[in-house]
Amino acid sequence: MCRTEEDPEPREPDGAKDGDRTTDAAFSALLEDSVEELYESAPCGYLSTLMDGTIAKINSTLLEWLGTDRETVVARKRFADLLTVGGRLYHETHFAPLLRMQGRITGVALEMRTGDGGRLPVLVSSVVKHSGDGEPLLIRTTVFDASARRSYEQELLRRQREAEEARRQAEEARRQAEADRARLTEALAALQRSLLPAELPVVPGLETAVHYHTASPDRLGGDFYDLFPLDGKRWAFFLGDVSGKGPRAAAVTSLTRYTLRTAALHDADPAGALGTLNTVLHERYTGDDPRYCTAIFGVLEPDRDTGEVTVRLASGGHPPALVTRADGTAHFLPTPGGLLVGVLPDPHFVTATTVLAPGDTLLLYTDGLTEARTGPDRTDLYGDEALHAFATRLAGPPPGGLVQALTALLDSLGDGVDDDTALLALGVPARPGAM
């Protein structure tokens, strides 16, 4: 170890006892170094400079490291002259000011220039010697060869930069993923909005209510419904369920909705509209990716004089509509045997007709309701009977009340509702005082 005390003369080790003359002699032999010898051949560089940096004394070790001789440097060069240019800049801006201010500085990494044009990484410590009245007299400096340590530090630094770069890239990827996700969510929402009416149109003499719930996390449903005017006197509606869920189902939903709307404007016959849809789906989704749907399509024809609304509908494999009457009864409007839409080239669709008097309501729903699980597995499903009983208990509810009650029921089933669910209720308001 290097010492910078005034008197680096080694003392006798504490362990040497007077009686142990042999050991003592051996120590003396080993420690025959003079102070001068210790200074010159120490395993570190020694350097003394005037306050302006001019080299006054330098030991052999440092001269050897630098590949120079005493005559070249003593009184001719300043400490900073021995440094690389970068080291000199650092010396002038950091090392020298700190040394001046604090009187000492320890372990500063610098690079020295060697005679053969190479560089020697060193760790430098300096202390200012002051006179008795506090005037700075000279600077004593020790220099340690830090080649090995420097390469280790360089490696550390390189790894640190790599780690920072990796962290930066990961952060960038995360930001990108979040942006992508936000964009995707927005695109899906826009698409979803195109599948359903933003709000139902006002139909004179008719009250309407809907409920819509998507089971898939991307909020793209396979259920659909719509209600729209045909010719000022009549209105068309439909509600259905395409096979599957998610984006692929949504594509079929989109095709289905716009096909039914167009078909209805062209020919308002319910079975005819479903027939057109069947042709389109059957033609579009054949082969590896068969897609089909169940649907009820109907036409409403209000009678202004009586307030009654005639409903003519056709079903393609869809659960039957439920009618609740003003007298508190409820019954399904049977459409048995209707085929799924899009499976066969030339199917037969079952039609039905009913008249809604004031206080009557027609409910269309998808199997998300009737096939909701009421127990731990799919052996206990909500079912048609339960729905019938539920509606009967409500005793002639208005559309809003009916949909609200069913929504509460669905909420109570929680995880049991594992499919998309759509409810559409169309009713003629009860006459005041009729209930």
Binding site: D52, Y90, H130
Partner: protein, 267 residues
């Protein structure tokens, strides 16, 4: 943000004294002025501050964008002058701060009355016909040197600052912050300083100016001092018989005396 806190503004000296603003250069902070402060503050109102990113400035106020150009540092100077509503300021800038002072006086000429440029250099890198003293590679070497020292910066510096038996006057208050800066901020300051070229701004200096250079300065050689003196019309050039880049530390009496002499008779 409160500018006084942001820039660690310290004001000393008689309240009615003429105003001196002392600005440190790259590598340290307002402590650089300690040895000349007693002489300067005897008759002058002295304002000390740290640039954002140096010393005990507010690190959250730092942004790479602002402090990657000398104009950002000049804005710190203008902000301090406006906050304290200083007029007829004699601005003393060390090293790169000498050029920061030139830019600040350009930005807010109504506030500055005189300029003292201590060891200034408008451009550190040699280019055709101009000798700044360094090559671009030299500057890269300095940046590497900075980095290798920051590896052990706190470990190396903390004991130095804590134990200082030889210079008790530096006191305990320096502990932990003396000239220690965030490595990233120091790197940007170093780049901004040593890659700057403000030679074109010298012509615009219109206030009385003192160019104070050292006879032996490894960073700003005498050619640079002569160049600055030559380019600023009517400037006074004083060469201190001092070694190094920081005469306020290596020759504090002579430095303070030269500044005060100039301020008494600016032209």
């Amino acid at each position: 943000m409160d500018v006084r806190r942001r820039n660690n503004v310290v004001v000393t000296g008689p309240e009615d004294g003429p105003v001196l603003v002392l600005a440190h250069g790259f590598g340290c902070d307002q402590n650089m002025w300690r040895l000349v402060l007693p002489a300067l503050a005897r008759r002058h109102r002295v304002v000390l501050f740290d640039y954002v990113g140096s010393g005990r400035s507010e690190p959250t106020a730092w942004s790479e964008e602002r402090y990657s150009s000398l104009a950002g540092y000049a804005q710190d100077v203008v902000d301090v002058c406006e906050e304290l509503d200083l007029r007829d300021v004699a601005f003393v800038g060390h090293s790169v701060s000498a050029m920061v002072g030139v830019l600040a006086a350009q930005a807010a000429p109504e506030r500055f009355g005189a300029l003292v440029m201590v060891a200034p250099s408008p451009c550190y890198i040699d280019s055709d016909g101009y000798r700044g003293g360094f090559s671009a590679e030299d500057i890269d070497e300095l940046l590497a040197s900075l980095e290798s020292n920051y590896l052990g910066w706190s470990a190396a510096m903390a004991p130095v600052i804590m134990g200082n038996p030889d210079r008790p006057e530096l006191g305990e208050e320096l502990t932990g912050s003396f000239c220690a800066t965030d490595p990233e901020m120091a790197r940007i300051f170093a780049r901004t300083t040593f890659l700057s070229d403000s030679r074109g701004d010298l012509d615009g200096v219109s206030v009385p100016t003192l160019v104070l250079e050292c006879a032996h300065d490894a960073i700003a050689p005498r050619e640079v001092g002569a160049y600055v003196h030559d380019r600023i019309p009517g400037s006074v050039l004083v060469t201190l018989e001092a070694t190094g880049h920081c005469p306020q530390l290596s020759a504090p009496q002579a430095t303070a005396a030269a500044i005060l002499r100039f301020l008494e008779h600016p032209r």
